[in-house]
């Protein structure tokens, strides 16, 4: 059964292709025919359009000429009524202008008065401001002067104190240095004098030793020894 079906498939396709081809050709003929018809219709419509347009132009020219005539009539009529209107309008405008001028004049007057009052007030304010500024300036100057004077006085005082202190310290330092130098000189002088004294005594002792060794007799020497022994007895040195 399926084999039979498979055998008919190309046949089916062939029939379908033929039908499609026939349909296509039929459609093509239809379209071609409708196109020709539409071209004819278009041409007819164009002709009709041209005719309508021609008629329209003709009617428009008629209307225009009619309108021109009507316009000339209206303009002539309106010129008469316009003169009246102009007079009224001018009158109204003049009145309005006068009213406006009056109002404006009043407003200007009022504004001027207000402005003058404000100017006077502002002038007064400026005067006050100037006065205050002047007062503040003088006060500031005075305060600054006082402050400067005070600073100068303080600086002068401090400088004076510093100078006195420095002078005192310098004097003390110099005095100490001088004292130290004097002490050093005195010490050195005393040492040297003591050394000289020692040398003098040593020289004297040496001289006496040499001289007395020659000049003192044995008896004299013994007498001095006896004297020493007696002195030791008096002092109870030898018991």
């Amino acid at each position: 059964m399926p084999d039979l079906f498979y055998n008919f498939i190309p046949l089916i396709f062939g029939v379908l292709s033929l039908i499609i081809l026939i349909l296509y050709l039929k459609e093509y003929n239809l379209r071609k025919r409708s196109q020709n018809l539409s071209d004819q219709l278009l041409e007819q419509t164009q002709q009709k359009g041209y005719q309508i347009l021609h008629q329209a132009v003709k009617q428009a020219q008629d209307i225009l000429s009619t309108a021109e005539l009507e316009g000339i009539k209206i303009v002539a009529g309106s010129k008469i009524s316009a003169g009246k209107l102009d007079q009224q309008y001018e009158k109204k405008i003049t009145q309005s202008i006068q009213t406006s001028q009056d109002a404006l004049s009043q407003e200007t007057q009022s504004a001027r008065q207000t402005l003058q009052a404000q100017e006077a007030e502002f002038s007064k304010f400026l005067d006050d401001l100037k006065k205050r500024a002047s007062q503040m300036d003088s006060q500031t100057q005075q305060t600054a002067q006082q402050r400067i004077n005070q600073l100068f006085e303080q600086f002068e005082g401090r400088l004076s104190n510093f100078l006195v202190k420095t002078e005192s310290q310098t004097t003390q330092s110099i005095e100490l240095e001088l004292k130290s130098a004097r002490q050093l000189i005195d010490t050195y002088k005393n040492q040297q004098l003591a050394l000289i004294d020692e040398n003098i005594i040593a020289m004297m002792e040496q001289t006496l030793s040499i001289v007395l060794a020659k000049k003192l007799s044995l008896k004299d020497q013994l007498d001095l020894v006896y004297e020493a022994l007696e002195k030791a007895k008096v002092e109870k040195f030898i018991t």
Binding site: L212, L222, E235, I238
Partner: protein, 158 residues
């Protein structure tokens, strides 16, 4: 008996060195005499001292008591504390005798002394007794009056 012997030896003896020498010379002499040993070489001074002693003095010694007596004498000598006398001049026996006699006369008792030479003393003497030193010399007097002397000298210089 030893006291008597020691007293005789100390007669006319003034210095510790002199005492020691005399005891040694006497001992050597007595040993040579009692034990027939060779006589020690003695100088004139030693011989004079030996001759100055009485014969009875020598009779107190014999072979038995010689060494004990001298041992005792040496012990007594070692217990002596001498007086040191510093002198600026050199001395001999005569000078030391004179000084010894003066000390005995002044202090009324026997004080043995030792002499030491110190030329820096200039004149006078210094004494050391039982570890204490005192200067009685001219040097000490100059030291004591140094300022006075210097002021006099400076017065001269001005």
């Amino acid at each position: 008996m030893n006291d008597q012997i020691f007293k005789i030896i100390l007669t006319n003896t003034y210095t510790l060195a002199q005492l020691k020498k005399r005891v040694r010379v006497l001992k050597d002499y007595l040993i040579s005499q009692l034990f027939n040993e060779s006589r020690p070489s003695l100088n004139e001074k030693d011989l004079a001292y030996l001759r100055s002693l009485e014969p009875s003095f020598y009779q107190q010694f014999n072979k038995d008591n010689l060494y004990p007596i001298f041992a005792d004498l040496e012990k007594r000598i070692s217990q002596f504390i001498p007086l040191y006398l510093y002198l600026p001049f050199e001395t001999d026996d005569q000078v030391t005798s004179q000084i010894g006699l003066f000390i005995q006369k002044t202090y009324g008792k026997l004080i043995l002394f030792d002499v030491k030479y110190d030329p820096a003393l200039i004149a006078g003497c210094s004494i050391s007794w039982q570890g204490i030193y005192r200067d009685y010399s001219l040097r000490k007097k100059i030291e004591d009056r140094k300022q006075e002397i210097l002021s006099i000298l400076k017065g001269f210089l001005k």
